[in-house]
């Protein structure tokens, strides 16, 4: 799942005391992927050469 810098996640935590609390976590550090961004969709297939019937 793509995380973004600065995004705030609300997560629930079961404490040792038995209660469940909600905490907000703000993402402040996220390594960047290397290389060019991947396309969201698969590339179009290569055109297929056709041979005319003679």
């Amino acid at each position: 799942m793509a995380q973004q810098l600065g995004q705030i996640d609300e997560v629930k935590v079961n404490t040792l005391g038995g209660s469940t609390v909600t905490v907000k976590l703000r993402v402040v550090g996220l390594p960047k992927p290397s290389g060019p961004a991947q396309a969201a969709t698969a590339p179009a297939p290569e055109p297929v050469d056709t041979v005319d019937a003679e």
């Binding site: 995380q3 997560v11 629930k12 907000k24 976590l25 703000r26």
Partner: protein, 156 residues
């Protein structure tokens, strides 16, 4: 076994939480007593030794994150215990869990939290004395998991 009491052993109570729900949306459960929890993060690197260079440089690649630590449980007549069972089963079955490692109580504003989804790579149990079971463990990011490990701060 029951959970060891915080502060009763070595006086150190680190904070590590886990959830079986992935994607960062699950309910985190605190692992009762963890000591010496450690985040190892190192970027892979290759040396650059090209013609014309006056010195060796390093090309820095992606980071590899590993969480390690030691779980303490108390030997008694109460059986294995829920925390021990959950982590052991995750190790045996290769289950990916969501982990959150905090510099303090995760409910306290300002704490620093590292989150990672991965597997227990190592589960090393020792029974060093008549009272304690120690499990030294190591967690690495699961290669097929797409949740990006990240650092966060607890905000109000």
């Amino acid at each position: 076994m029951t959970d060891a009491v915080a502060g009763s052993v070595l006086g150190d109570d680190c904070k590590l939480y886990y959830s079986a729900t992935l994607g960062g949306s699950g309910v985190l459960t605190e692992i009762p007593v963890i000591i010496d929890d450690t985040l190892a993060s190192e970027r892979r690197a290759v040396e650059s030794n090209c013609r014309g260079d006056a010195e060796i440089g390093e090309l820095i690649g992606k980071p590899k994150h590993t969480i390690s630590g030691t779980l303490l449980v108390k030997r008694d007549t109460a059986g294995v215990g829920a925390t021990f069972s959950a982590l052991r089963d995750a190790y045996v079955n290769g289950t990916i869990l969501h982990f959150a490692m905090a510099t303090g109580d995760i409910t306290h504003v300002g704490q620093y939290v590292f989150r990672l989804e991965g597997r227990l790579k190592r589960f090393e149990q020792s029974n060093p004395d008549n009272d304690t079971v120690k499990v030294s463990f190591e967690i690495t990011h699961a290669g097929e998991n797409t949740y990006a490990s990240n650092f966060s701060t607890v905000t109000a």
